[in-house]
Amino acid sequence: MSQLTYSQVDHDILSAMKSPGRRYYLLLLADVLVLAWGIYAWRYQIVHGLGVSGLTHPVMWAIYITNFVFWVGIAHSGTLISAILYLFRVRWRAGIYRTAEAVTVFALFTAGLFPIIHLGRPWFFYWLLPYPQVGGLWVNFRSPLVWDVFAVMTYMIISMLFFFTGLVPDMAVVRNRTSGWRHKIYAFMAQGWQGSDRQWRHYKAAYLFLAALATPLVISVHSVVSWDFAQTIVPGWHSTIFAPYFVAGAIHSGLAMVITLLIPLRKVFRLDAYLTQGHLEYLAKLIILTGLIVGYSYMVETYIAWYSNNIPEWQHFTYQITGEYAVPFWIMILFNSLVPLLFFLKPIRTSTPWLFGIAILINIGMWMERFVIIVTSLAHEYDPNSWGLYFPTWVDISITAGSFAWFFFWLLLFAKFLPVVSIVEVKEELPPPVVTKEGVT
């Protein structure tokens, strides 16, 4: 990036925010239509009852919770890249962290809906919040679902803090380049930023500490989510490895999602200079790591199921690999732990089509992983007499589709209204302009 100048950076990145063309609007329209359909399906479910979904006894949780876990997982990579890599002073992070963080925030918007969608009486969802309720009864702090409420809420708030804080100096840049109502908006978001040394000093401090807080948080959130399952006695759920297993899986899927989004982004907005092939390669390498961890977790699960000599556990495992849901299971094994190993080959991890394709597969695989964990375990629990199967109905599917539309709705707005690459941090990576040869140290 050394050939770039500060003003060049401004120009390149801001040009992505020029008023959009027809293709963009068509895309947005299509997205909104799907979203509307999803909302209709949800309304239908609220009016007629959860019975319209495929949920049943004994499979009381299915793809709503799958989606919840999936989206929370997606969120994780954002924080990983923006916070953890920041603490490690990883220089290549500058180009991609803004997008990754946006993904985090929007993924959480989406994830946050599902616990409400899957409630039998969604109009009482606020009973899960800690506030003094009539009768002096509070929430049950021993329930993993309450841990979820706290973890996800905290995670959402902190990520947004982090996201908007990171935006402020960039907003100042945009503010100075725009006029009219746009100027007003960006001026508001810039919060009167003027880049004085004092502002910078406190800003950097705050940013550092937010990163330091976000790092343990992100680990905790998916651990808590995993405990929704691990804390139960359900064969296939009750497992000590779940926390690390889920965190790795989360980052695995998150990275895949980031790649899936970055590739079109840099193409459309011509940001090759900022989101280089190198960046994607780094991500691919990370995916190798997480893929290996996930694969290892699968193996441990299997081993424990056998070694524990616990009949329900073992029967559950054999059911997984042979039963009605064997296809999702094998998809999950293949896409999550085997396919990513292709990234060991440099030609593959450096070719955009391969990257894109494999990233998509991992997304599918990770969704299937959650589906398999949730549904197969519930379908074959302790009492053979009440074993049962789950098949999604149009409602489940519409709502799921709607949730994706909801996520991309926000993402589309983000791509147009905010700088998809952090201007300031890119500049920071450039050598500052100097007269003297030796520069400034």
């Binding site: 003003s7 800690p130 702090f141 902190i158 003027q194 004092r198 910078w200 000093r201």
Partner: protein
């Protein structure tokens, strides 16, 4: 600190010339300097010899507050309406620790932000006239508070350091 309202703003295309200017001005006894830059740079902080930010204290307080709230909330509410679930004790610390942890992070984050806003005097409604939009792009600014009779000297110092333009401005 009693800041006088009149002063000069020098605009530098290069970082090192800004740093020279700061050096020279400090030598001649101008201490109340303020740099305006598109990026943060440790060299600037070093030159201006500003103390480290107190935001960390806010973070610490926030975290402590969070943990205390967590403990009080979980334990007090459980005791208020004691209901046995799953044979577990009414006050079961291990699960409560999760709440404590999350609240620690949450409050920590919120106060960190608060600390930043407070110390950086943000959000502010109007921007100082001294501010030049290019300071957000590729120019480094240095604001020197001084009264008319000092203008010439300051201007000379700035330009000698390499300021491409020097304009009078009020804060």
């Amino acid at each position: 600190m009693a800041e006088s309202n009149s002063g000069l703003v020098g605009s530098f295309p290069h970082l090192d010339s800004l740093l020279h200017a700061i050096e020279n001005l400090k030598k001649t006894g101008y201490r109340e300097l303020q740099a305006l830059s598109p990026i943060p740079h440790h060299a600037i902080d070093a030159a201006l010899e500003k103390p480290t930010s107190p935001v960390r204290v806010f973070t610490l307080i926030g975290c402590l507050l969070g943990s205390i709230t967590g403990f009080v909330l979980t334990i007090a509410t459980s005791l208020h309406y004691p209901l046995i679930t799953g044979g577990k004790p009414i006050v079961s610390i291990p699960p409560f620790l999760i709440i404590v942890f999350e609240l620690t992070i949450l409050f920590g984050g919120l106060l960190t932000l608060g600390g930043m806003l407070w110390n950086a005097r943000l959000p502010r409604v109007h921007i100082v006239p001294a501010y030049n939009p290019r300071f957000s792009e590729d120019r480094f600014g240095l604001w020197v508070p001084c009264d008319e009779k000092e203008f010439d000297e300051v201007t000379r110092l700035l330009e000698s350091a390499g300021a491409e333009q020097v304009t009078p401005a009020t804060r």
